[in-house]
Symmetry: C2
Subunit: 199 residues, 2 copies
């Protein structure tokens, strides 16, 4: 039996993300992807049932999965609040700034009904997506370290500015001066922490 060429599978994934990042989700076609990867369209269908299946697997496994791993690296839910937050912020910042295609597809996940649905289903199936963060926040609410808000609200308050900063980072990457530095990110993180902390 002829063995499968793993490089081709990798090419499919990475080029699909590249096309989406450069030309948009609405401009990704199976034939364009096959051509970019130097393979026959049929080869994509050996691994993926159809286009929808490809997009969802790309989003859930390649993007969300890798993102979760990167964000939680060296994070411990028992950490002190400020230390934990800074770890999460820096992990997210470093991962996303080095993986723009993943960032772009994550952004599409907030717009595209197909991807949005896939994200919610993953959450329901596997319990909470970022459960260590969930427990970290729950503990600090109980400890009275931070204000008491529902989890989803807390995430909006604590992490959404970071995503906008990553976006600014990419914007400035095409300009003469990059203003979004690690120091600035940490400074913003401190601002967010100051807002949510009790006392």
């Amino acid at each position: 039996m002829r063995p499968k060429n793993l490089e081709k599978e990798e090419a499919i994934r990475s080029l699909a993300l590249k096309i989406i990042a450069e030309e948009g989700l609405e401009n990704l076609s199976m034939q364009k992807l096959a051509k970019a990867a130097g393979i026959s369209p049929r080869t994509i269908y050996l691994k993926y049932e159809n286009k929808e299946d490809l997009l969802i697997k790309l989003f859930v496994e390649e993007v969300l999965g890798a993102y979760e791993t990167a964000v939680l690296e060296n994070f411990d839910e028992q950490m002190e609040f400020e230390k934990g937050m800074k770890k999460l912020w820096l992990n997210t910042f470093h991962y996303l700034k080095n993986n723009r295609p993943s960032y772009v597809l994550m952004q599409y996940g907030k717009s595209s009904p197909l991807l949005y649905k896939a994200f919610q289903e993953k959450n329901i199936q596997q319990g909470d997506f970022f459960s260590p963060i969930h427990r970290f926040l729950t503990r600090h609410i109980k400890n009275n370290t931070i204000r008491n808000f529902p989890q989803d609200v807390l995430r909006a308050l604590l992490f959404s500015p970071l995503f906008d900063l990553v976006n600014e980072y990419f914007d400035h990457a095409q300009r003469p001066v990059q203003i979004i530095s690690e120091a600035l990110v940490l400074s913003c993180c401190e601002t967010v922490i100051k807002g949510i902390k009790n006392s």
Copy 2:
């Protein structure tokens, strides 16, 4: 000369937004849109040069324009910081929660290269998009009311949580209980204000 039917133009705009919100930008086609509006595809081309032109005008004029108007209603850049922020937050919240299709297309504006480019070009052409907010923030930095960050960074810190809250609002609209109330939004706004204020 036969007069143009304004209802048809309105139908094109509102149905395009509706299709995008329900099925995604990637599933909007000119023929589908024409069918939904009960008109010939040609009629769309009387008003718009091509699909790209339609999407950009929809985004810039219909969505961003109306959004800017709604957000700045009864806002005065001379307002005290807390009062101004709360006004901006409530205006945004009320407008978006009643205009989900606009919210969805705005989200697409953060992913789709086509729309993203259109947004940046509008900003460059017309100077700053939300200039009263720009001046409001600049003044409060000078007054030492708030921490000194670049404008784009400041916007990430001050307004991005609100967009996530609107998203949560729509999520909860399909569930038994709506947890995102005006009171909660104001409470989140206060949290953000507390973080950014000096002292």
